[in-house]
């Protein structure tokens, strides 16, 4: 699997949108973190939407990396919103005891955009 083809960081005004592939390997998750942080610096972004609506597995490694990324984005002055977690993933992640740190969650990307528009006046 070629991680480069699976991960694109899209700039939307003051925020970034990243769509995570359905079954991301550890390498892709690490790449996501690096790409996001560099894109935030490059575009001076104030926020990040992680679209995980395709993701069908969220294990402790993924959760830890998302939580860390949220923290790193916060250190760079940005807010992270996790959008679109599937019901079976939410059930499993909770049973496994995972948490996503300080990230805000929304049902989908539309609602994530609403948060950035209404709460942070960024879009």
């Amino acid at each position: 699997m070629d991680g480069e083809n699976n991960l694109s960081v899209i700039k939307l005004k003051n925020i970034l949108l990243v769509t995570v592939p359905d079954d991301p390997g550890d390498d892709i998750i690490q790449e996501l973190q690096t790409k996001v942080l560099h894109a935030i610096e490059k575009y001076q972004s104030k926020g990040l939407i992680l679209d995980i609506s395709s993701v069908n597995i969220l294990d402790s490694f993924f959760a830890r990396t998302i939580s860390e990324t949220t923290q790193m984005v916060a250190l760079m002055g940005g807010q992270t919103v996790i959008a679109g977690m599937q019901p079976s993933v939410a059930i499993t992640a909770t049973e496994l005891g995972l948490h996503l740190g300080k990230a805000i969650s929304t049902l989908d990307v539309d609602r994530a955009l609403d948060i950035f528009t209404d709460n942070f006046k960024l879009v």
Binding site: I57, S60, T92, E95
Partner: protein, 138 residues
Amino acid sequence: MAIEETGENPIKNEGDIVTCRKLIRNVATTAGFGMTDVTRIVTAVSELARNVYVHAGSDGVMRWQLLYQPGKIGIQLVFEDYGKGIPDIDQAIEAGFTTAGTMGMGLSGVKRLMDEMHIQSELGIGTTITVAKWGRAK
């Protein structure tokens, strides 16, 4: 045509974690497990395969087998490594225990996701973790 009843996949590198997940997702879905149970099983596979990869430092393997009981379908997964072994199994299963800088939810979490878990470990020889999940037959 019956589906395959048993198989195995090596765990030698990071990429094998994804390979094991895809394989078991396919097996569990075909066997008739519901979507949430498939997610539970695949998540357990991810945790245990990574465990082998991170802690064993040498070749490991995942073996799977479908189990049948009247009205029920089951899947058994065995993760075998030849690593340094677990000194204190009870401590390893405790929530929050970690030696690898992770959240420490691995083994305690897997125990919650699956119906059965058994750990056999010998210092210097290796570790075998066996888990099973049961569902209603189609």
